[in-house]
């Protein structure tokens, strides 16, 4: 790495990493050559159009995979009948040459905190067990309007509060990579590895169910939600593209809120082009969500293939180099910066000076809004209600005690504390001011000429469940959201891209952060990067046998045409 203006040295490598760096760069180039070949993978949507596979066949394969991977606990509800009916309709459209577009007949999954008309929506909470919304979230409706097949509702941390997908009432989600050929082979080499079955890995969270569902080939894309990193974090741990759009680009109507001012629907896919296709279907103003912005982006969302990055300026925020960052992630981050530089991009170290205050500030704002948003769950109109009826107040208290888990109740209590009259100025108002400073940090960085920021997504690769639960939810969230939540406070678009496998054979992701409403530019850069790194897909043959063979070997793993 050439040091320009003395600023990139924060990412300088330990000597021991050099070998790895070389190997990695060679491998990238090899991957590059592979795909310069004459036979690019066909996109599944092209296969559908050409009649090589029917929507019903595709749907049945995915349903079969859902059954085979049930132990992953990725789905809370599998909407088999709905999906098959939708597939049938899609099939008719294809036969009549009236396909609705790239998503017609494509199996998708939706995190169980998006309202789905007629389909139970639980937020992985006792509070909403049995709650069947009478309406579709705008994003769900848009997917259906495009002909997508809704396979089911995916697991999460209760009310999306968590970073492991371990704290929902339906139990933890298992990371498909726990069962991958890549991870298993590495473990065999390791004489210390213990009993495999109890050593399964977490997916990250809170959209872990959606990540596992896409990663295990049970669908092509899934909706997550992203309030502090809940889409990007599990994407990084599951080797997926996890995209958080600009706040206001995609409607939140029907998304059961965690923090209204930070929530955005997130997109999990196996490649950047797929994320762009889904974003194209979802983006746009919604009269039902007053915070959506009127036409900030030109549709459609086709991403150009960037031939040349020489006009690009990549910012490396120095505050993101924290002591807790694993050396593997750090070196991959550094190599990624080098890659851009070697291809002619300008790489600058930038400063986001208020970064260290971000997680605390996020905690205050998050819990305050949680306290407010959770107030409606009182057992009166929908969801759980306790048996106690001595008074309305007693009923509220018991219902909420029974309905919410400790994490949710803890956040409600903290939030109410921050919102008390005597604390409001000292906590909530101050946190809002810090939020503004954090948002301004990004503005300043982008004003200094940076197009896109490059950071890690997570501190390390996924850890085993038994390891993860040694710390409580709050500690884990503070650690795991460290690189992701500031983006939510600033409302910026960000995407986690899988880069490479760790020494353990597990995926590691890096995050790109773009200017507000420059989602397309961000994804274009991400697509270029994705092409360079050629992240190896998950190998789940043993687990999923014939089904995944269809999806992997026939190269139908993505909606879009990978080039």
């Amino acid at each position: 790495m050439t040091i320009k203006d003395g600023c990139v040295h924060v990412l300088s490598l330990a000597t021991s990493d050099l070998f790895f760096l070389l190997a990695w760069l060679l491998w990238w180039q090899a991957g590059h050559e592979d795909h310069a070949g004459p036979d690019p993978p066909r996109k599944v949507s092209a296969a559908l159009k050409q009649g090589q596979i029917t929507p019903t066949e595709l749907c049945q394969k995915c349903l079969s995979l859902i059954k085979k991977t049930k132990f992953l606990n990725a789905y809370i509800t599998v909407s088999e009948e709905v999906a098959l009916k939708q597939a049938e309709e899609s099939e008719k459209r294809y036969k009549n040459g009236q396909s609705l577009g790239d998503l017609d007949g494509i199996p998708v999954a939706v995190k169980d905190n998006f309202s789905t008309s007629g389909i139970e929506t639980t937020c992985a909470s006792n509070m909403l067990k049995g709650y069947i919304p009478p309406y579709n979230a705008t994003v769900v409706q848009k997917l259906l309007d495009q002909g997508a097949l809704l396979m089911g509702k995916t697991n999460l941390d209760e009310f999306a509060m968590g970073s492991g997908s371990t704290d929902g009432v339906f139990g933890p989600v298992k990371n498909p990579w726990s069962y991958s050929k890549q991870y298993r082979e590495k473990r065999k080499q390791n004489p210390h590895s213990k009993n495999e079955d109890s050593d399964w890995l977490i997916t990250g969270g809170s959209s872990g169910g959606s990540a596992a569902a896409v990663s295990a080939f049970t669908c092509y894309a899934a909706l997550g939600s992203d309030t502090g990193g809940s889409t990007r974090n599990p994407a990084a741990h599951c080797g997926l593209v996890g995209f958080k759009p600009s706040y206001g680009l995609v409607s939140r109507h029907g998304l059961i809120p965690l923090v209204n001012s930070m929530d955005v629907p997130g997109i999990l896919t196996r490649c950047v082009d797929d994320a762009a296709i889904v974003l194209g279907a979802l983006a746009g103003p919604d009269p039902k969500d007053s915070t959506t912005v009127h036409d900030p982006i030109n549709k459609p969302f086709m991403l150009p293939s960037l031939a040349d990055v020489s006009k690009l300026c990549i910012g490396i925020p120095k505050e993101y180099l924290v002591p807790e960052l694993s050396s593997e992630v750090q070196s991959l981050w550094s190599k990624a910066a080098d890659l851009f530089e070697s291809e002619g991009a300008k790489v600058l170290e930038v400063s986001l000076p208020h970064t260290s205050y971000s997680i605390v500030c996020y905690h205050v704002l998050c819990t305050s809004e949680v306290a407010s948003n959770m107030a409606r769950f009182d057992g009166l109109q929908y969801g759980h209600r306790c048996d106690i009826d001595v008074s309305t107040e007693a009923m509220y208290a018991a219902t909420r005690r029974e309905g919410f888990n400790d994490v949710v109740r803890g956040r409600i209590l903290s939030g109410n504390f921050f919102l008390l009259k005597e604390n409001y100025e000292n906590y909530f108002v101050k946190a809002q001011k810090v939020r503004r400073l954090i948002a301004n940090d990004f503005v300043n960085a982008f004003n200094s000429g940076v197009d896109v920021l490059l950071t890690p997504t997570t501190l390390s690769e996924a850890v085993p469940y038994l390891e993860f639960i040694k710390e409580d939810n709050r500690t884990r969230s503070a650690q795991d959201d460290i690189f992701t939540q500031a983006v939510n406070m600033a409302g910026l678009p960000a995407v986690s891209i899988p880069v490479a496998l760790s020494n353990q054979g597990l995926p590691i992701g890096l995050q790109f952060i773009g200017r507000a409403f420059c989602d397309q530019q961000l994804l274009t850069v991400a697509k270029w990067f994705e092409k360079q790194v050629q992240f190896p897909g998950i190998q789940l043959q043993e687990l999923t046998d014939d089904c995944s063979a269809v999806l992997e070997n026939e190269k139908l793993a993505s909606v879009s045409l990978k080039q």
């Binding site: 969500d289 007053s290 107030a375 409606r376 009259k421 409001y424 909530f428």
Partner: protein, 517 residues
């Protein structure tokens, strides 16, 4: 104070919420008899600045009361403030409830343009400063009729602030002295209404109607008393007063209660009270409703700041559907009551108190103007007939102007007959009474059927006068002995003999001539 507000913010489901700061509002003495005046004449605010328990004794402290009102009024709109569901009076319970109104998870508020326009219009009518940018806040409390657990309101930066309303009260022996007053308006804010609770004590159940409350006007009164020159006293809040009469009663009661309490060595607690309208007293609301920590107010994150424009700040090429232009709303503002009153005084030489009466009765001004348009009679005559005769009949039978059996045209024709001296005033009253019977006859028809025309035949009248004088020699004697007023008795007797058809002036002239001869 509240009535003009009502005129602007009438029926509907939204709440405009005006905080009227009546800091300068001192009230007078014992509530006896003053209550009904207050309503009729809108004189609910004091004529004398000081308030005493009984007649002030020498050296005794005087009390001043301070009253501030929080007025909740529904906006006349087709749909609710934050949802598309309809607003309709007396709709079946929970029949007009959108997913948002029911606070289903994931639903978001969408601001109703009509409500914003109504709030701006109200602000302009009340001389407020309209904030070009206002914000929405959440006020939190748990209550069964508040399904979200919070209410969306405007606390930090409301849509309009710092207004005033000038009004007048009638004072003096005959209520003929008009005293102008001004009440300050602190702020006007848009606020979501809560639902309505129906408590079924028998089965100890509470039923909730999320159509939202039915009342069109609800007032909370904040009241304190202090000695002039000393700091303000501790205030109490009397909640949910739903008529102007009860509002006045509750305030009177509460002022008196506080004074009695303090004079007996007690203290006033900062508390919420309710008004028992049948028994006429206030009592402490000891339930939790009154003692909430609202967990302060959090900004409503789902509604961006409400930005309004005026002619100078309007962005070029802005879609009129997407922006609200204050100046444009100002142009559509109807003539305000104070301007109308001034115009009536100027144009028709009317007394100010008459202009108040004309405006306070719904439809009366329009009726008056229609009569004026069609009659040759003097405006003063018209005013007198409309305010005395016409309004008197309406009140007597408890009818609204729109329910009147007498049309403006009929009254105009009647006044023309009077003006042309075709009939006497007394005959005119008779005709009016006939008109009131709704028999479909015109004044002209009634006059000719009942032979009410003035007696023009001087000879016949002279004959009548002569007969009356002969029949009442004692009265004639009195007159001659220097009691000139006794002539009225004779005039009355002659008129009676003519069935009121004769002109009293002519009778008087004939009588005088005969007496002096």
């Amino acid at each position: 104070m509240a009535a003009p507000m009502l005129r602007w913010v009438g029926r509907g489901r939204r709440w405009t919420f005006a905080r009227v700061d009546g800091g300068s509002c001192h009230r007078r003495g014992a509530p006896t008899g003053s209550t009904s005046n207050r309503i009729r004449g809108q004189s609910s605010v004091a004529q004398q600045p000081l308030y005493t328990t009984q007649k002030p004794r020498k050296g005794e402290h005087k009390w001043a009361a301070v009253v501030g009102l929080e007025i909740h009024a529904q906006i006349s709109s087709n749909s609710k403030l934050f949802s598309g569901s309809q607003v309709r009076f007396s709709a079946p319970p929970n029949s007009l409830v959108s997913f948002f109104d029911a606070s289903l998870p994931g639903t978001l508020p969408v601001l109703n343009r009509r409500c914003v326009e109504a709030a701006v219009m109200t602000g302009l009518a009340l001389n407020c400063h309209i904030n070009k940018k206002s914000l929405f806040d959440r006020k939190h409390y748990f209550y069964a009729d508040l399904p979200a657990g919070y209410q969306i309101t405007q606390r930090r930066l409301p849509i309009a602030v710092n207004g005033s309303l000038t009004y007048s009260v009638c004072a003096g022996k005959k209520q003929s002295q008009v005293i102008p007053k001004t009440v300050r308006i602190k702020q006007i804010q848009l606020e979501q209404d809560s639902g309505k609770s129906l408590h079924d004590d028998l089965r100890s159940q509470t039923l909730i109607d999320l159509n939202r409350a039915e009342g069109q006007l609800r007032v909370d009164a904040n009241i304190s008393v202090h000695h002039p020159g000393e700091p303000l006293g501790v205030r109490t809040e009397v909640k949910n007063l739903n008529s102007i009469r009860f509002l006045a009663k509750a305030i009177d009661y509460e002022i008196q209660r506080q004074i009695d309490e303090l004079e007996n060595g007690g203290e006033i607690l900062n508390e919420t009270r309710s008004f028992h309208h049948q028994l006429g007293y206030t009592m402490s609301m000891r339930d939790k409703e009154g003692k909430q920590d609202y967990r302060w107010f959090m900004p409503e994150p789902n509604l961006p700041p409400l930005v309004l424009y005026d002619a100078t700040s309007l962005p070029a090429g802005a879609d009129p559907q997407q922006v609200i232009n204050i100046d444009q709303i100002r142009e559509t503002l109807p003539e305000l009551p104070s301007v109308t009153r001034e115009r009536l005084v100027q144009q028709y030489g009317m007394l100010l108190e008459h202009s108040f009466t004309l405006l306070n009765e719904v439809g009366l001004l329009e009726f008056f103007q229609n009569v004026i348009k069609e009659t040759r009679a003097e405006p003063k005559k018209v005013t007198s007939w409309v305010l005395n005769t016409f309004l008197g009949y309406l009140k007597q039978q408890n009818l609204a102007v729109s329910e009147s059996p007498v049309t403006p045209s009929a009254l105009a024709e009647l006044l023309d007959l009077l003006d042309s001296r075709t009939i006497s005033s007394a005959a005119a009253k008779q005709v009016f009474e006939e008109l009131w019977k709704r028999e479909g006859k015109t004044p002209g028809q009634i006059v000719s059927e009942k032979q009410l025309e003035l007696m023009e035949d001087r000879g016949a009248l002279e004959q009548l006068c002569h007969s009356v004088m002969e029949a009442h020699p004692q009265v004639v004697m009195d007159l001659k002995e220097g009691h000139p007023r006794a002539i009225n008795k004779l005039i009355g007797l002659v008129r009676k003999a003519t069935q009121s058809r004769a002109d009293p002036a002519m009778i008087k002239e004939i009588l005088e001539k005969k007496l002096s001869s």
